[in-house]
Each structure stands twice: as structure tokens, then as C-alpha cells.
Amino acid sequence: MILSIKRVPTVVSNYQKEEAEEGARHAIGCGRNCLRSCCLPGAKLPLYAFNKVGNVVGEKGSFDTENKKPPVNFLDSLLLGEWEDRMQRGLFRYDVTACETKVIPGEYGFIAQLNEGRHLKKRPTEFRVDKVLQPFDENKFNFTKVGQEEVLFQFDASEDNEVQFFPNEPIDTDKSPSVVAINVSPIEYGHVLLIPRILECLPQMIDRESFLLALYMAVEAGNPYFRLGYNSLGAFATINHLHFQAYYLATPFPIEKAPSKKITTTTGGVKISDILNYPVRGLVFEGGNTLEDLSNVVSDSCICLQENNIPYNVLIADCGKRIFLFPQCYAEKQALGEVSSELLDTQVNPAVWEISGHMVLKRKEDYEEASEENAWRLLAEVSLSKERLQEVKELIFEAICCNIEDEIVTPIMEDDSDVTPQSHEDMDALKGSQPAMVPA
């Protein structure tokens, strides 16, 4: 039996069509100025090339003068400027700033928004929710089909050791560009999609390289209120084409306020903690001797979940300094009919933003009556049980070959140079454990 639920998907692109109709029309000549071979040759986009080298653990604009960082948060300005440009050009389905929003009084300050226009009112589509890994399907909607005007800029690593910006750079199909595009049904101002290596048409699953790209974006933006999120299939991802989401909200997310308790520190210096006192159980990752260390521990954990068919969501917060991982089971519960109709009626699908505490509500009564208790109750349904999470944690720790370190204090390094990992054997073991990719 295939588990599936009926859902009304959110439109993310002006070119997103009914999945049922799409197959028939695909081959016909485009005229949409999209990103496929019909339209792509000769296309140009701004290119933001970030500096991979010298990205030490530390906030942008801090004391290390050896890094050549632009004085202004350039990526931040680029994102905001390009997004506002698309707003003024009328590319969004609605003005999200015209949607009423509030912080719900309470300990955590859940954020509620009344957005009646976000979900397209059309015949719902079947969506398979019991498999986290599903092969890419060219016939379904994917991001190569969006119009170029929805793409804001390319985002890739610089070839030289410095940040570079090219206002009008041809898209080099051989170099497998990654791009940032708008979400035409935004949850908040600046809602974009980061699509790693867009032309490779990767399915929605995390790999080390892509996750690192997302983390670089958080670091480069340098704005603690610009967060990135990821939904796996089965955890309310709507499109099976690898993408992260991001937007601006200049207030703390409830999840960011939740206390945590350290479980362990990896040999790469990554601190892994339990999230406490929050309706959804999960893990938080911090630190790391280098950004890559942090990135790899998280992506390896995600890969482990993927391979064990456990749906999950990821939130990258605090300029990439804190990463939250939430394994979840809501879609499965929904398909098995285990969720109360009262919760189902709100039609809130608990994806990463909802889990983090940002609720977009479609009905006025839900918005007026929004309370911390209601939010808590909904999110509690999403969470794995304590026992199940414990099992999942064991899977994850086994996968990342963690060295339990909490009895030993990490000594402070004497010199200022990048800290090297203490044990080379462990690093190699970690590399060797990279799983084979599931064929698309």
C-alpha cells in the first residue's frame, strides 16, 4: 500500500502547472524564457561568487582583518534589492507585506500570519509521502522550467580567494551553476529558493556539497534574521527538485529560544545537543573547527535519515552558527488517519517554518484564535516520541562515527591558525562513510 495524502500544493513559480497536464505539454516549444536548453543559451544573470577560503568560525565584520570582506553586507543588499525589484515588476502572486502578522503572546512568541491567498484554490493532487527518496521525474514541475525573470542571481564559490560580483555573467552550463530564485507565493519578505546545481536536476535529497552551499549562503548573508530551511520529501517538500528556502523575519523564532542540552562534541569540534522544552523533539548542531566540519556532520546526519526513510526538516539559523534537525512523522500519521480533524482543518502543513514557530494560517478564525497552546498542540503531533527519537539518534551517531567527548575538556589552541582535527583516523573514517548516492 502506498501512503499518500491529498494536498493543495503551494505555487512557487509562475510557470508551475498542474502536474497531470504537464507531461503532455512539455515537449512543445517554450517561449517562456526558461532555463532549459530551449531558452538558456545566451542567458545572463548576476553572479555572486563567495570566498571559500578563510571562512573561519566567526561573524562577518569581526576582528580578523586578514579576510577581505566587503564592508557592507553585499549579499544581503543584493538579495533584498533583487527581490524588491521583482515585487515592483509584479511577479508575486500577492504582496506578502499586506498580510497581517503578529507575535502570539506567550513564553515563546510564536508568529502567526493571516494569508488567505497563498494556497492555490484548485483540485488537489495526490502526493506520495511514504518515501523520502524518490527519483527525479522530468515530467513533473522542476525549477528549470521557471522563467528567467524569477531567478535573481547565480551563487557559487569564487575561483580566486575573494568575494566577487559580476552583474551580468553568462550562465556557464558546463560549470553546473547554482541559483537563487524567488518564491512567487512568499511566506515573508525576501522568500527565495536556493537551487544547487540546478541543471543537474537533482532530486530533493541532501548531499554534502549542497548543504555546504546552503551554509555558505547563511554565512555570506551575515544576517541572523535571514534563515534557510529544508524539507525532505515526506516532510512537506512540495517539489522533488533539490532546493532550500530562505526569507527574512527580524524577530527570533521560537525554536531559537528553546534551551538545549549537550549530548556530545565530535572530533571536528561540532557540538550536538538535544532541544529541550519544545513541542518538537530534535537536535541542534553548533560550532565546528571549520564550516566544513559543521556542514558535514549535519549533512551526514541527514543522509542517514534519508537512507532510513525518516522524513525530516532542517533550519539553518544564526548566520549558519546554529543548525536544527527535526525528524518528523506527521505526514505518515495524516495518511494513516491518526491526526485529529480539528488540526487537519487548519490545513497547516508543519514544514520547517511551522516547526520553527512561524505559522501561516489560511482562515481568519484560526488567526484570531491563534495561541501558544494551539501552536504547541499542533507541533506536538509532528514530533517523534522520545523513544523513537532515541532510536533515530543512535542511527545518526553511528553514521557520523562520533567520538564521545564530553568528559574531556577541549584544550585551547595556542596559536591563531586554523585548528586541525585532533585525530586524522577519525576524519578518514568519516570520509569513508559517505554513502553511495541513490540513483536519480
Binding site: 565584520g61 524588491e84 560550532g287 585551547i412
Partner: protein
């Protein structure tokens, strides 16, 4: 690019007179004073005790934001709490791990307090006091290891520093008051520099009191010296910020935007300016108090094209964004072509609350600035302002 130290210190002196530094230098405590109205919310004063504690020189600290003392083991949630307290303009206290110039970490109790202008209730400064604290004691199998206290005279005359073998520093007016204190040494290490960063450090009552006393002393000094200049400050906000006034949180947010722009109040008659950036003041030659509360039309003059003015008026009336090129005049009556972009800005209620106007001097328009076109630069300001206004008006402050 660092803000000019001279200007930073000057603004502080203007408020408190240039005698205030001497008075503040006499206080033995570790503290910093920041100015949320300056872009980047920089430190404008650092006490001698503070500089000694962190091992930096004055020039390395003035003009920088407090985050330079944070490091890899600093708890991010605590940093967030400080950030939010600043936004909400309230006092707070927290234990935090900071780093010295040589990279060594240390725990300290951080107590922060806003300083309000008596005249208009705005936050003028934040005072931050840092009290170094003992590491959390750990129990070995045999119980707590005790060792005797050692004294070290810091050479301050009547104010002596007691330096314990676990690096706890206590300032006191008289050593005799403290009496003999036993010191608890952590079992896990003998290394003088090693710190257990994994568990948060709770400050003792003594340390909290010390911090509170320091804050009071500093505020007394500031209040007293503000009387000399007539620009009074106080510890509590005496008058509520009016509708036209923006809270510190929005001010700080907007203060990060370097371009020339103003925010006008869409809900007040004649749409007065409620915010003017440093860039705007620099471009037009006015001082802040000369523009706040006025409608932007004072920028126009004899040769300004009335059609353009009408165009602006129409866009505002229909709540549309627009870009125009208008002849404007500076305070010294020299004119310049203003490449102006105006956009409505909604707050969390969804309704238009402000208009933002971003000015570019046409002469400077095509200068190289990081590759962003002038139009893009203006739009990025619109975006930043929209995010700030919307987010910061979402309401209910939480505990």
C-alpha cells in the same frame, strides 16, 4: 571600513561634556558604553578595567561592536538574548563567555542597562558592565578540593584586587571587608588558562551585587555630566515615545543602512520625517533635529520642477513606488540633482505606515560601489526598511 573614532567620541562628549571621560576613568569597574544611534551600534567608551580585562587597547575597541569579544564557544542563545534586549530597550543580566585579545576565553556576568534621554524618551546609550566570574565548581569522587586564597595587590591604593588561585578577581574598597575566603578549585585541571566552557557559569550573589553597584555608579556619573550640557539623561524612560517616534530597535535596524534615506510617517498629517539616516544628513548638510518632524518639501527650492513634485504627490496618494529626478537644495542652498526613489512601507497590520525616500546625488550616481547599480542600491534599502518595519511592529514582547 571603520567609523571615524573622532566623530564617535565627539558625539559622546557633546552629550556629557568632555569632562565625563575623566570621571568615568576613575571608576574601577569593567564596563563599556555603546551608542545605538550610530551605525553598527559601536562602543563609544571603554573603561580602563575593561581594556585590561580583555587585553585590547582603546583604539582597538572604540568604534567596534561588542560582538568582537565573542568566540566559538560563546553560547549563541545568550547572544540572541542580548540582541533582543537591546531591541526591546530593556535592562538584562546574563552569564556569557567572552574572549580576550590573546584568544583565551573567560566567563563573565554581563549586566546591561539602557540610558534614556529625559527630553524625548529615546535610548541614548547602553551601559554594559562585565564582572569576571568563577568557573562552575565540579565535584570529584572525593568531594570538593579546597585551597587557600592568595592575595595579589593590584596597586590601586585603597582599592585592592583580590586575585584568587582560580583566577577570580574581586574589586573591593577594602580587603578587610571580605575577610578570609576559601577558594574552590576545579578538579579537572591545574592549568591556569583552561576553562570548562561546556557548562554555563552561574554568577554568585556577590558578583551580581557588584555589577548592580557598578551600573548605578556609572549612571550617576552620566546623569551628573549630562546636566552640564543640558542634554539630560536618566535611567528610566519618563515620557512615552510618540507615534512619530521610532523605538530603539527600529532605529538600530535602520542605523545599519548606510545610504541616504528618510522615513516619513504616512499616518500623520503632512507626513513628517520620523527617521533620517546619517547619509541623508551628510548629503543635505542638515542636523538631525533640523529635519525630524518636517515634511520633505523643505528640500525643494526655487528651480525645482513643480511637475516632479506633483508626480511624487500622486504616487504617495496612490501608494505606489516611483523614481524621479528632482532638483533639491542643501542647507547651504547649493543645489543638486536628486535621483529619488520613494516606496510605501507597510507594518505588521498590513497597512501602509511609512514612506521611504532614498536619495542619490546624481553626480555620484555612476561611481563604482561594489557593482550594484544605483537602482539596485535603492531597492535594497527599500527591502531592508520593509523587513525592519514589518518585523519590528509584530507586537507582543515576550518574557
Amino acid at each position: 571600513m571603520e567609523p571615524q573614532l573622532g566623530l564617535i567620541e565627539k558625539s559622546f562628549d557633546l552629550r556629557y561634556s568632555d569632562l565625563v571621560r575623566e570621571a568615568l576613568d576613575e571608576l574601577p569597574d569593567c564596563f563599556t558604553i555603546t551608542d545605538p544611534c550610530i551605525c553598527g551600534h559601536p562602543i563609544v567608551f571603554a573603561s580602563k578595567g575593561f581594556l585590561k580585562m580583555v587585553g585590547y587597547s582603546k583604539d582597538e575597541v572604540i568604534g567596534r561592536n561588542g560582538r568582537i569579544f565573542q568566540g566559538p564557544e560563546t553560547d549563541r542563545r545568550s547572544v540572541m538574548e542580548i540582541r533582543e534586549a537591546i531591541r526591546e530597550e530593556r535592562a538584562m543580566e546574563i552569564s556569557l563567555l567572552n574572549y580576550r585579545k590573546d584568544g583565551t576565553p573567560f566567563w563573565m556576568l554581563f549586566q546591561m542597562c539602557p540610558v534614556f534621554s529625559k527630553e524625548d524618551g529615546r535610548v541614548i546609550n547602553f551601559v554594559g558592565v562585565q564582572v569576571p566570574i568563577l568557573r562552575k565548581l565540579r565535584l570529584s569522587g572525593n568531594g570538593i578540593v579546597r585551597s587557600e586564597m592568595s592575595l595579589r595587590d593590584a596597586g590601586n591604593g585603597a582599592r585592592e584586587t583580590v586575585f584568587r588561585c582560580c583566577r577570580r578577581e574581586v574589586c573591593s574598597d577594602s580587603i578587610l571587608e571580605l575577610g578570609r575566603v576559601s577558594c574552590l578549585e576545579s578538579v579537572s585541571s591545574n592549568d591556569d588558562r583552561e576553562v570548562d566552557n561546556n557548562e554555563p557559569c552561574e554568577a554568585s550573589e556577590l558578583e551580581k551585587t557588584k555589577a548592580g553597584t557598578a551600573i548605578s555608579n556609572i549612571l550617576s556619573v552620566l546623569t551628573h555630566y549630562s546636566e552640564l550640557t543640558g542634554r539630560l539623561v536618566c535611567r528610566k524612560r519618563y515620557c512615552l515615545s510618540g507615534n512619530g517616534q521610532l523605538g530603539a530597535s527600529l532605529n538600530i535596524c535602520l542605523g545599519r543602512i548606510k545610504q541616504s534615506f528618510v522615513l516619513t510617517d504616512a499616518l500623520s498629517p503632512d507626513m513628517p520625517i520620523v527617521y533620517a539616516s546619517e547619509g541623508f544628513l551628510k548629503l543635505t548638510g542638515y542636523a538631525r533635529h533640523e529635519v525630524l518632524g518636517r515634511n520633505c518639501r523643505f528640500l525643494s527650492g526655487t528651480d525645482t520642477d513643480p511637475t516632479t513634485q506633483f508626480q511624487i504627490k500622486e504616487c504617495i496618494r496612490s501608494q505606489q513606488a516611483c523614481t524621479v529626478r528632482i532638483l533639491n537644495y542643501r542647507k547651504d542652498r547649493t543645489s543638486f540633482w536628486n535621483f529619488l526613489h520613494i516606496s510605501p512601507v507597510r507594518n505588521a497590520s498590513g497597512k501602509v505606515a511609512f514612506f521611504v525616500g532614498i536619495q542619490i546625488d546624481d553626480r555620484c550616481k555612476n561611481q563604482e560601489t561594489n557593482g550594484l547599480s544605483p537602482e539596485m542600491r535603492q531597492l535594497s534599502v527599500v527591502g531592508a526598511v520593509k523587513v525592519a518595519v514589518r518585523s519590528l511592529s509584530m507586537g507582543a514582547s515576550t518574557s
